[in-house]
């Protein structure tokens, strides 16, 4: 059965960027339905759907909403995480640029469900176009009575503010984002307390990824049972956006049921570029451990990938062919994490820097026989010891490189040079 797009059904229809157009395409019906339900029922429905967070950690969305204390006098907040900066990831951008009201509708439903009257959309600073489109959509929604003193005449008050970040990867980490939102230096907080208890401005706060929120209207409109019918099993449900990049014929964002095998996704993306051989792939963004080509039939869902020693993460699938030097590729990722470490905690600040330096040496042909073990030790000293998940993220690609592609690392060290010819990152079509 061919998959019928859910989240991306309005992609390529510029008219849905207005409230009028979005309504004409069937939008805001879920909101009307949701507002007629009790907030607890909305939470319950989302719980039943099995929707798991699409930002990377895969935490059950309804459970997260359930952590928000009810009946307290404190204000509550929703912060929509649109700080999409994991290398390889560009799925939220598509949603925000093509169907901004779907994101708003999901956000409004979430606010209604948890009793928040203020929502911040924290958008990555580089997403200028998406920010402009969302800004216009928010303005339109206020004019049409979708936002403001009485959402669609229900008496529910809601303000949505768009907040542009300044380009730090760490501000995509939920507590780093809260600090940044509050006007402070973007660096993560220690947990507990969790944001559901002490979040933005010291108040209970839900933080959801844009794609997660975009799923909500469909769950409310078509029911949790329909939603659960999509996907591999009970714990991996719903439609999923896969951002495919690298050496494929047609890179782009593809929506399928969650859990599509990698090989099928590769076919959707037109197969390998220029018919080359698959060497390895990263299934979930820069922080996911690399998988070898032999794993090509693996189902891309939360649990299968976790079992295989990787993760679904942000579902940014980076495909690498046999012309790729993996040491160089991982060095490049290590550079990223070194650059983006906030510098707050020791293992991440010093460890990501050191890993970057060691990988650089190996790639330049100055590796030493003890380096692979050194890298593994560094990974062990960073993973699980850092203050926030960035340390674990930085370890992902490095550890998998040494453990799964040891031959390639050893070849660099033994021969004193990179065995593969150095190529520019982007090779124009037709170049040798």
């Amino acid at each position: 059965m061919a998959f019928e797009p859910v989240l991306t059904r309005n992609v390529g229809k510029p008219e849905v960027r207005s409230v009028r157009g979005y309504r004409a395409a069937g939008g805001y019906q879920a909101l009307a339905k949701g507002l007629a339900m009790a907030p607890e029922e909305v939470v319950e429905e989302v719980k039943k759907s099995g929707l798991r967070g699409r930002g990377g950690a895969g935490f059950p969305c309804g459970v997260k909403w359930g952590f928000i204390p009810r009946g307290s006098d404190q204000p509550k907040y929703l912060v929509a995480n649109a700080d999409e900066s994991e290398p390889g990831t560009f799925k939220d951008r598509l949603l925000m640029e093509h169907d901004p009201h779907q994101v708003l509708e999901g956000s409004i439903l979430c606010c209604y469900a948890v009793g928040a009257h203020t929502c911040y959309i924290y958008i990555r600073g580089e997403y200028v176009e998406a920010a402009q489109i969302l800004e216009a959509a928010i303005r339109d929604a206020y004019q049409e009575g979708i936002l403001g003193d009485s959402v669609m005449g229900s008496g529910f008050l809601l303000d949505i503010h768009l907040h542009r970040g300044a380009g730090a990867y760490i501000c995509g980490e939920e507590t780093g984002m809260l600090e940044s939102l509050e006007g402070k230096r973007g660096q993560p907080r220690i947990k507990p307390p969790f944001p559901a208890v002490v979040g933005a401005f010291g108040c209970p706060t839900v933080i959801n990824n844009v794609e997660t929120l975009a799923n909500v209207p469909h769950i409310i409109e078509r029911g949790a049972d329909w939603y659960r019918s999509i996907g591999t099993d009970e714990r991996n449900t719903g439609p999923k956006l896969y951002a495919v990049s690298g050496h494929v014929a047609r890179p782009g964002t593809y929506e399928t049921a969650i859990g599509i095998p990698f090989s099928e996704l590769l076919e959707l993306a037109g197969g390998m570029d220029r018919g080359r051989e698959l060497k390895a792939f990263i299934p979930g963004g820069a922080s996911a451990p690399i998988l070898p080509a032999a794993q090509r039939d693996i189902a891309l869902d939360f649990d299968t990938l976790a079992k295989a020693g990787s993760m679904l993460g942000s579902a940014a699938v980076i495909v690498m062919d046999d012309t790729t030097c993996l040491v160089r590729a991982v060095e490049r990722l290590a550079q990223f994490f070194n650059h983006e470490s906030c510098g707050q905690c020791t293992p991440c600040r010093e460890g990501t820097n050191w890993m970057d330096l060691v990988l650089g040496r190996i790639e330049r042909g100055e590796g030493r026989p003890e380096d692979p073990q050194l890298l593994l030790d560094l990974c062990g000293h960073i993973a699980g010891h850092s203050l926030c998940p960035l340390g674990d993220a930085a370890v992902g690609p490095v550890k998998s490189l040494v453990e799964r592609f040891r031959d390639e690392v050893d070849a660099h060290i033994r021969d004193g040079r990179c065995p593969l010819p150095r190529r520019p990152y982007f090779q124009p079509e037709g170049s040798p």
Partner: protein, 546 residues
Amino acid sequence: MPKVTINGRTVEVAAGTNLIEAGLEVGVQIPHYCYHPRLSVVGQCRMCLVQVALDGKVMPKPQAACSTQVMKDGMEVRTDVPEVAEAQKGMMEFFLINHPLDCPICDQAGECGLQDYSFKHGQAFSRFRFEDKRTYPAKERIPLGPHVLLNMNRCIQCTRCVRFTEEITGTGELGFFERGARTEIGIFPGKPLANPLSTCVVDLCPVGALTSTRFRFAERVWYLDKKPSLCTGCDVGCNITLEHRTGAIRRYKPRLNPEVNDYWMCDHGRGSHERYGELPRLAAPRVRRDGGTAGAGWKEALDEVDRQLRLAATDGGGAAFLGSGFLTNEEAYLLAEIAEVIGSPHRGVWVEPGPDRTIPNLHGGVTGREAAPNRRGAQLVGLVPGPDGLDAAALLRGEGLGQCKVLVVADSDFGGPAHDPEAVARLRQVPFLVVLGWADTPLAQAADVALPVATHAEKDGTFVNCQWRVQRFEGAFPPPGQARPGVAVLGDLLGRHNPQWAGLGTAQVFARLAGEIAPFAGLRFEGIPVTGAVLEVAAADREPPG
């Protein structure tokens, strides 16, 4: 209260106690850099990772002890397992890879957190041999303010200093700049670290990144002898550790007293010992005769003072006694006792007003407003004018001195008047001027008999601070030359009238004054608690005449 078990030792702690504090209860030291009991918990250094089990289930990742609180029974903590040792070893390696390891030229060496924990938890070799260390060019000696210098290469980014200026002084001069491995501490343009407590960041800095411009290169710390003492900079009475090398004071460091100065002290107080080096020292008794002054033995000098005092008492005219806020309670008590024996009502304590100096503590803070530590104590023990007596201000104005035969000024450096030629001339109107003190000031030079006594670093005693808290201190080293503690000198003088006062030690004098002066009743010198004892003083006695 919940129970927690650390390395097999169980202790009951208040709910919310973190594991570092709980560990101290059972004698387990958990290494840490960024944690400080008075600063917010940030869990940044990751040095305090421990293994935590809840209800028998070991948590998969080691937890930061500083940010893990004991909330209910059933928490079991281990710091002696290989996982924790490995984490600590890894962290020490991270701290040191980019550290310059310039201990031989670093002021912190000998009291450095990196040295201590390297020895305990680190390893003796480096695997960081084929990469270049990160440096912060041109940031090896940046003055952050008048008292603090930053060497960014040594910094371990614990942010204690940043949090101190944010949370304790509320001035927020320091911040974290840049990011990742390039993260650095700095000040904002045009806003130097110039708050009155600024040098506290040097104490807080666990490494040699922040050093004190006062102490920098003055001494290797392992040559310092340390003695608990009190600051004499104002009437807060900050508890300090006096650090000296063979009698040369090198620095004051705050010593914890939660009731007074907590962990802090002000920059003014830290520099207050410099006065001992700035003024010439009075090293031997000096007696004026035949129009000039000459050195004399103690017996000769004291005999002369005693003779003059007796003459004043019997021939009429009387004597006057001017003390200062730098006298200990015991010295002031003996001086008042002499006045009593002579029958003189003219006694007073001179203290100069100082700017307000506030030291924050958990109860809000203590504010000192006087330039000397013990005006209150000296007055309590008897240095107040008797009926028709002259007070300190009147004596300094020269009133009635024409009729007096003898003036005894105890403390040659009691304030501005001791150095002001006009004020000295007014005091000099008296036919016979006796000055006790450590400094050879213009006042001491004008005296008929100048008696060298110990500084507060060289004697024992007690002070009463602005909270009416009596605090004890002990001498750190003996006085130089022929100088003697004031208690010995005054006791000698008093002993000539009544032998039972001769040769008393400070503790014995304190015992006598405690028996006589009501607010001190029941106190013993050795029994004064380390945090001091608050005296109950009636409101009327708090500000006596004068």
